[in-house]
């Protein structure tokens, strides 16, 4: 039961990430309507913004993959660890948010 709850939480976190990435891609696709003839300053900025976001997202993914496994283990042993576990799982989200903010500034 406790493991199932933890899996549901992990799935919700992943879904949140997917939504975030989806929104970002949509925004950039609208902005990056580059004129025919090559890279422009606006285009390069968009690539930079994408990389900033990508770095944050990869960092979050790497950290969360390990943290979620550990939290699942902790919750399987002691259900009272769930609250702290959720905090730990959510903590790496700060990385992707920072990446998002940086991408926004670059735009």
């Amino acid at each position: 039961m406790s493991r199932k709850t933890a899996i549901q939480i992990a799935a919700a976190v992943v879904l949140f990430n997917v939504l975030l990435v989806g929104l970002a891609i949509r925004a950039w696709a609208q902005a990056a309507t580059a004129p025919a003839g090559g890279l422009t300053d606006a285009g390069l900025k968009t690539v930079g913004a994408g990389l900033a976001f990508l770095g944050g997202a990869i960092g979050t993914g790497v950290a969360q993959s390990r943290i979620i496994a550990a939290v699942l283990g902790a919750v399987a042993e002691d259900r009272s660890q769930l609250g702290f576990g959720i905090f730990l799982m959510a903590f790496p989200e700060t990385l992707v948010i920072l990446g998002f903010v940086m991408a926004f500034i670059l735009r």
Binding site: R66, I67, A69, A70, L72, G73, A74, E77, D78
Partner: protein, 357 residues
């Protein structure tokens, strides 16, 4: 990697192991009934409750201890998946080898099978009924036949060395065959895994090989064996001592020379040096004590590798052995000093005071 999940759960399991203060409390108890009541308040409570209808007094404690260890080892086994599983298997198989050797030793010495059964350690890779069946055999030959019947892989080394055992009646022949087979098989698996965790397990096994070789070498020197046969039972795969060094030790003319050669090694310095008059029994005890200290020592810097599983398995072994000694001592009303003398003392696991004693 699977170690985040496994090690977080193991951390909780390590926390649930008995604390030094609890050992202290158990040693101060006056009889077995008090110990059963005290154990009922620990992680052993459900196991005692489960067997309380069937057993009483010492057999109850024994059944509860066996069940508890098997329950936890089964849990460890089910938690260890992917890369961790073959390594955990190697760690747990050590106890199957220990049990096989105990049974062989029992038949060799003509010990009552019930007495031999009391020396067996709870295991999960082979069922308890397997050992019960082995103990029903009429001798070592019967044990080997039974291993063949059930398709147990230890049939092979034992069948190969049995003619030699029959000729000279030396138990070392069979023990060495079982050990060699286990260590060689484990090394093959570790080589196939090939990561840093496999290296850590190989080091653990290598240390055990070194200690087994040292005890064997001193026994050869003490008994004054001269034939070339003495070099045959050296185990390969030592961590710090090469085969050539062990051969050199075996070639020592006397114990003084043996210990002089051993002086420069890490084992001598970590065990606090060895006196020339030391007998094999005392020497083995000191080396085993060194092994327990090494294997039970938890390195907090190694949170995400096989180290924690290894530490857990060894600490559980120490806990089970010590509880057996205390329960059996209280049951037979043995003086506390005697119980303490037979216990395994590990720094950080058992009371500090006794480690120095």
């Amino acid at each position: 990697m699977s170690y985040e999940y496994l090690n977080t759960r193991l951390h909780f399991m390590i926390v649930k192991l008995l604390k030094p203060a609890q050992y202290e409390q158990f040693l101060e108890l006056r009889d077995l009934g008090d110990l059963i009541s005290a154990l009922a308040e620990t992680d052993y409570g459900p196991d005692l409750e489960r067997h309380a209808v069937e057993h009483a007094e010492y057999p109850l404690v024994e059944a509860a201890l066996m069940h508890n260890v098997q329950r936890h080892f089964n849990k460890l086994w089910s938690m260890a998946f992917a890369d961790a599983r073959p390594l955990v298997r190697i760690l747990l198989e050590r106890f199957e080898v220990f049990n096989l050797k105990t049974i062989l030793r029992g038949f060799h010495a003509g010990t009552d099978p019930a007495e031999t059964a009391r020396g067996l350690f709870p295991t999960i890779l082979y069922p308890t009924s397997f050992y019960q069946e082995l103990l029903k055999r009429d001798g070592i030959g019967g044990v080997i036949d039974y291993l063949l019947t059930v398709g147990n892989r230890y049939y092979k080394p034992l069948a190969e060395s049995y003619p030699s055992y029959e000729a000279n009646h030396k138990l070392a022949v069979l023990e060495s065959a079982v050990d060699s087979y286990y260590f060689a098989g484990s090394r093959r698996v570790l080589q196939a895994v090939g990561d840093e965790n496999a290296v850590a397990v190989r080091r653990t096994l290598g240390t055990e090989v070194d200690l087994l070789n040292l005890v064997y070498a001193l026994r050869v020197v003490e008994e004054g064996v001269e034939s070339e046969e003495r070099y045959r039972y050296i185990l390969d795969g030592g961590e710090r001592l090469s085969r050539a060094f062990i051969e050199e030790l075996i070639g020592s003319p006397d114990k003084a020379s043996f210990f002089r050669k051993l002086d420069g090694t890490e084992y001598a310095s970590r065990a606090g040096g060895f006196e020339d008059t030391l007998g094999v029994g005392e020497f083995q005890e000191r080396l085993e004590n060194y092994l327990y200290q090494e294997m039970c020592r938890y390195d907090p810097g190694r949170t995400f590798d096989i180290h924690m599983a290894s530490v857990y398995v060894w600490r559980k072994y120490v806990e089970m052995t010590d509880l057996r000694v205390i329960a059996s001592g209280l049951w037979r009303r043995v003086p506390r000093e005697e119980i303490e003398r037979k216990m395994i003392w590990v720094k950080g696991v058992t009371p500090e005071r006794a480690v120095a004693a």
